[in-house]
Every structure is written in C-alpha cells, then in structure tokens.
C-alpha cells in the first residue's frame, strides 16, 4: 500500500494540470482567476505532503504564506477585473488586447 503523502503528490500534480488547462482554455477572466487559485492549492498540497513525509513543520508555514499571498492576489486581481469591466464592458480576455503588440 502506497503511503498517503506520496499519493497526495500525484493528486497535487493532477490538480495543477487541471488548473493550467483551465487558465489556457477559459476566456472569462474570473474563471481564469479561479483556475489560478486551483494551481496555488496544488502547490499548497505539495508543501503539506512533503512536510508530512519529512516530519517537519516548515511546509505548514510555507502553506500559510501561500494562503496569505493568494488572498492579496485575489483582492488586487478582482479589483483589476472590475476596473477593466468598467472601461471595456467585458471580462472576456479575448476582448482585452490593448497591450497586444
């Protein structure tokens, strides 16, 4: 029987790839943000799995900091989405191409 922390690493890899797929495929900026949160959670899960494997608390501290930074990122990112929606009337990332070229 494989140990749970080792299996959790694969769950984290699958979750990260799902999040990346969502970031690449979805066109709604809000859903793209949600997929970024999924990827951050996958990183957290890896930290916690390795913390359990090593019997060490540092991974828990790292996960704590990741959660704090994710909260800051969500606040600023959603504010940017609101600002873009105000000036463009859309959150579709294909409509927002002023910075292209």
């Amino acid at each position: 029987m494989y140990p749970i922390p080792w299996l959790a690493l694969f769950l984290a890899a699958a979750l990260f790839c799902l999040g990346m797929f969502g970031v690449l495929v979805r066109r709604n900026a809000l859903v793209v943000f949600m997929c970024v949160e999924l990827m951050l959670n996958a990183a957290n899960l890896t930290f916690l799995a390795f913390a359990r494997m090593r019997g060490d608390n540092i991974g828990h501290v790292s996960a704590f900091f990741v959660i704090a930074v994710a909260a800051a990122e969500a606040a600023v990112g959603l504010a940017i989405v609101i600002a873009v929606f105000r000036s463009r009337g859309s959150v579709n990332i294909e409509d927002i191409k002023t910075m292209k070229h």
Partner: protein, 167 residues
C-alpha cells in the same frame, strides 16, 4: 486498505471532479460553487496529511473570504454564460496537450520520490497543530510574517484604488 486510504481516495476523486467542474461549468456562479467544494475536499486531504491548522485556514480564508470576494464580483458584474468562440477548439487541443504533457512529466518525476514517510514519534500529538505551527511562524519566520501583513495592507489599499472609479 486502511480507513485513511479509503478517505483519501474519496477526497481525491471528489477534489478532481469538482476541479473539473470549475473548468467546464458554463456560468461563473457554478464555477465558483464548484471551487468552494474543491476547497472543502482539499481541506479533508490536508487533515489526512496531519495539517489541521492549514485545513482550518483553508476553510476560513479560501472557502470563506476569497470565495465571498469572487461571488460578490460575479454578482456586481452581472455576468452571463460564456459564448463559445471559434478559436475554442484549437486552444482546447493545445491546452489539453500542454496539461497532459506536464502531468506526464510530473508523474515521471514524482515516481522517483522515495516512498518512506518519517515516523512522527514524539511529535505524534503536536505535529501540525496550531501551537507548533504558530511557534514556528512567530519565532523563526517572524520577519516573513510581518512582510506578509504589510503585503496584505498594500493589497487592500491597492484594491480600493484600482476598483474605485473616482478618487
């Protein structure tokens, strides 16, 4: 087959299913709700990894604060369902290929990770509790902790400045 493995399997399958629902749901509200359930099931996995503190934080901060923020923005913007675009198929193939490729590479790399798990021994009762994690944060990691509090303050002010139409 221990009870932990059965629980882990259930939580893992449910996490991946609701994560897939986040991506494939039509309306942003259903994506957000699927994300909430993903966070709850992940918190269950965290508990199985003896990370009780982070599991509680996950539910408080992610499923509580961040998801409320998401839901408020969705309601504020009054978004409808996403219209399918012509370039969707090409980007889907490309994105799917990239995701599957990354998953294959990660699986090969993770397969080499040694499977031995440290026995907790004396810290069986204390591992991952609020006391030990808090002691680590407020002694060794005090400076990063203060930097994060500053970062949250800056993010708060920045969010108000960016989202407000006229200051």
């Amino acid at each position: 087959m221990s009870i932990e493995h059965i629980l882990f399997g259930a939580f893992a399958v449910l996490t991946l299913l609701s994560a897939a629902l986040v991506i494939f749901a039509k309306s942003p509200i259903s994506s957000a709700m699927a994300l909430v359930s993903t966070f709850f099931f992940l918190a269950g996995v965290y508990v199985l990894l003896w990370a009780h503190t982070v599991a509680a934080l996950q539910i408080l901060v992610y499923a509580g604060a961040i998801m409320v923020l998401f839901l408020f923005v969705i309601m504020l913007l009054n978004l409808g369902d996403e219209a399918p675009s012509a370039r969707m198929t090409f980007s889907r193939i490309l994105g799917g290929g990239a995701a599957v490729g990354l998953l294959a590479v990660l699986s090969i790399a993770l397969n080499r990770v040694p499977k031995d798990v440290a026995s907790l021994g004396a810290q069986e009762q204390t591992f991952g509790t609020l006391r030990t994690v808090g002691q680590a944060i407020f002694s060794t990691w005090l400076l990063p902790f203060e930097a994060v509090s500053l970062l949250l303050l800056v993010a708060m002010v920045g969010a108000v400045v960016v989202a407000k139409s006229r200051i």
